[in-house]
């Protein structure tokens, strides 16, 4: 466009007295010009004030604000107890509390939307139609500025003697460098924990040891009578903290007649009768892999759909998992004529997702 560059200083600002004589609009336009903003088009929406059209526009906008007011009052009324919000069971009577949150939402949304629409309409209908063009002034600083600024920087540099006093340079570098490391070291040092150190902290071992009883989540012991063929149960080591520990969950499976598990090398005696036990923690990302298909013997993990074939020793057969689920060696111990399951030892390998130190 024609009016390309109008640096502010080129505007001859009139005197205060002259400005005071101007109309508000004139002074505004002059101010805009001083800011490099050129109002190229400005027209009142309603050049004649008080026409029917203008009053109608005003009334509609006022109506939206009124709706906003009423909805906000409605919100307060509902909130303060017009609608019950205390939750109760279906058997305890009406479930009217379910209207509380939606009513609040609708009323709040109506109030907000009405105010928002009103304000936008105000801008669209009543504010003067205006098109302004502003100079960007985004060119780099003038070369003179650049030279003076770099001179300032270099001069300061020279005053400090950064070039000459190399011993100061290197010592302050050392000091500040070391100091910068302090918060980092403090934070990491405070939080760091050596992996696999301390009781219950090893990624390679769980709470199962030879003779640990297998128990239900409620602590009852589990016997060989408990599961029917095709049944599964999540079992835990019956030691203090065993049910809570993240690596404890183990899936005890009783195979259907005719199903057998092809054991891995060295794990032949790990099952007991038609019972086998695998870690429930998926070797991929650690979700409990527990969607068991009793007829196909497949075990699916719901997080990333890894599929394991229990009949092939829980080998991964589909999806992103790479390792078989670790198998828990189980046996029984006889108490009062009933055979209760015990672990014959820990899992032979680390359970759960793989990590760097894992062979």
């Amino acid at each position: 466009m024609s009016q390309t560059q109008h640096p502010a200083d080129e505007i001859a600002v009139p005197s205060a007295d002259e400005l005071a004589e101007m109309s508000t609009e004139e002074a505004m336009i002059l101010g805009a010009e001083a800011d490099g903003v050129h109002i190229v088009h400005r027209r009142e929406r309603f050049p004649i004030a008080g026409t029917r059209a203008e009053r109608r526009a005003e009334r509609i906008i006022a109506l939206t604000f009124l709706i906003g007011f009423l909805a906000a009052v409605g919100f307060i009324v509902v909130f303060c107890g017009a609608v019950p919000f205390e939750w109760h069971l279906p058997s305890q009577g009406s479930q009217d509390f379910r209207y509380f949150t939606p009513l609040l939402g609708i009323l709040l949304a109506i109030s907000l939307a009405a105010i928002g629409i009103g304000v936008v309409l105000w801008a669209k209908w009543l504010l003067p139609e205006e098109e302004a063009v502003q100079d960007r002034h985004d060119e780099p600083s003038p070369v003179t500025e650049q030279i003076m600024t770099s001179a300032t920087l270099i001069s300061g540099f020279n005053d400090l003697g950064v070039g000459r006093r190399s011993i100061l340079k290197s010592t302050i570098g050392l000091a500040v460098g070391a100091l910068t490391a302090v918060p980092l070291v403090a934070l990491v040092g405070a939080m760091i924990k050596k992996p696999n150190k301390g009781p219950g902290q090893s990624l390679f071992h769980t709470l199962y040891t030879a003779g640990t009883p297998l128990v239900y989540a409620d602590g009852r012991r589990i016997s060989t009578d408990d599961l029917l063929p095709g049944g599964i149960e999540t079992v835990f080591p019956g030691v203090p903290g065993g049910v809570k520990a993240g690596d404890s969950p183990t899936l005890l499976i009783r195979l259907r007649p005719g199903q057998t598990v092809r054991a891995r090398k060295g794990q032949a005696g790990f099952g007991f009768g038609d019972y086998v036990a695998f870690s429930k923690i998926c070797t991929h990302a650690g979700c409990p892999a527990s969607l068991y298909e009793q007829q196909t013997g497949r075990l699916l993990c719901p997080c990333h759909q890894s599929q394991f074939n229990v009949l092939e020793d829980a080998k991964p057969i589909f999806g992103p998992a790479t390792r078989s689920l670790p198998k828990l060696p189980i046996g029984v111990e006889e108490v009062d004529g009933k055979q209760y399951f015990v672990a014959k030892g820990d899992f032979p390998e680390a359970i759960g997702p793989a990590f760097w130190e894992r062979p």
Partner: protein, 299 residues
């Protein structure tokens, strides 16, 4: 039906038998009517069974001349509602609708249907009442559909299957624990059931096209029967493992969850983050796109 508990002997006796029901049946419960109505109908069904047994007893006893027989239904024996007549009616239905695939003596037919010996009335009741049996075709993912038989007919067929092959049975009476046990039921549901059916009981796909169904339509007795018999790919939950009281607590939890109205507005089918993301992408951003088009428009 019988009030026998499924003890471990009964369980052992069933170990030799073929377990699953349909050919590669892959899923479990769900039904057509609301749980409460269904429960009522179940009650009416057992009442009708009682009435039938009364009629038989009355017939037999009036022959002897004993008018006191009217007191009979109040006795505990009435719980054993399986009468010879029911079994006989069940046999007739079996022979018209089931015999082609399961054989004359429940022994199964090669390439058509498995043996039903030892599966018990629980399994037969589940499969027939959820409409999975009679199956439309073999092999496919056998899904819930409208049942072909009435509740009474289903009970008769189940009684017949039980009488011939034996196996697990759904106990008579109320199968839903009261509200005090909801929390226990919830814990058990999340531990044993949610991994397949989902925490909100909406179901999930299993491997290669099989599915675990949602429990929207499942009735009390269907859920009980499913836990007891392990239909399709579903694991079996014996009474030693999940006691009858615990099963009732699970049922109470699921039915209560289904009946609870959502306090936070539309449920979005309780699916979770995927539908929530879909809503924000379509409704949320959609509304706001319309808004900015409106604001950006010159007036």
């Amino acid at each position: 039906m019988t009030d026998d508990n499924v003890d471990s002997d009964a369980a052992d006796s069933s170990t030799d038998s073929e377990y699953g029901f349909g050919p590669a049946v892959a899923d479990t419960a769900a039904s057509t009517s609301a749980p409460r109505i269904r429960a009522k109908r179940g009650g009416r069904g057992s009442l009708r069974r009682k009435l039938t047994s009364i009629a038989i007893l009355v017939g037999a006893l009036t022959a002897v001349g004993g008018g006191y027989a009217l007191l009979a239904p109040s006795s505990g024996a009435a719980d054993t509602a399986v009468s010879a007549a029911d079994v006989e009616k069940g046999r007739q239905l079996y022979e018209t609708s089931c015999i082609t695939c399961h054989g004359a003596n429940l022994q199964g037919v090669a390439d058509r249907g498995p043996s039903l010996i030892g599966v018990g009335s629980a399994s037969a009741y589940f499969q027939v009442s959820t409409g999975r049996m009679p199956a439309v075709s073999q092999g496919a993912n056998n899904l819930r559909k409208d049942p072909k038989f009435t509740e009474d007919q289903t009970q008769w067929i189940a009684a017949y299957v039980q009488s011939v092959g034996g196996g697990v049975q759904v106990p008579a009476g109320n199968l839903r624990a009261d509200d005090a046990d909801l929390a226990e039921g919830g814990e058990l549901f999340r531990l044993n059931c949610a991994s397949c059916h989902g925490a909100t009981a909406k179901g999930a796909p299993l491997s290669a096209g099989k599915t675990a169904p949602g429990l929207n339509e499942a009735t009390d007795s269907q859920m009980y029967a499913a836990m007891l018999s392990g239909p399709g790919q579903m694991p079996v939950f014996s009474d030693n493992q999940v006691t009858p009281d615990q099963k009732k607590a699970i049922i109470a939890y699921v039915q209560s969850m289904k009946a609870q109205k959502d306090p936070g507005g539309a449920s979005l089918d309780r699916v979770g983050p995927v539908t929530e993301g879909l809503v924000v992408g379509t409704v949320g951003l959609g509304l706001l796109m319309v808004t900015i088009l409106w604001i950006g428009r010159k007036s």
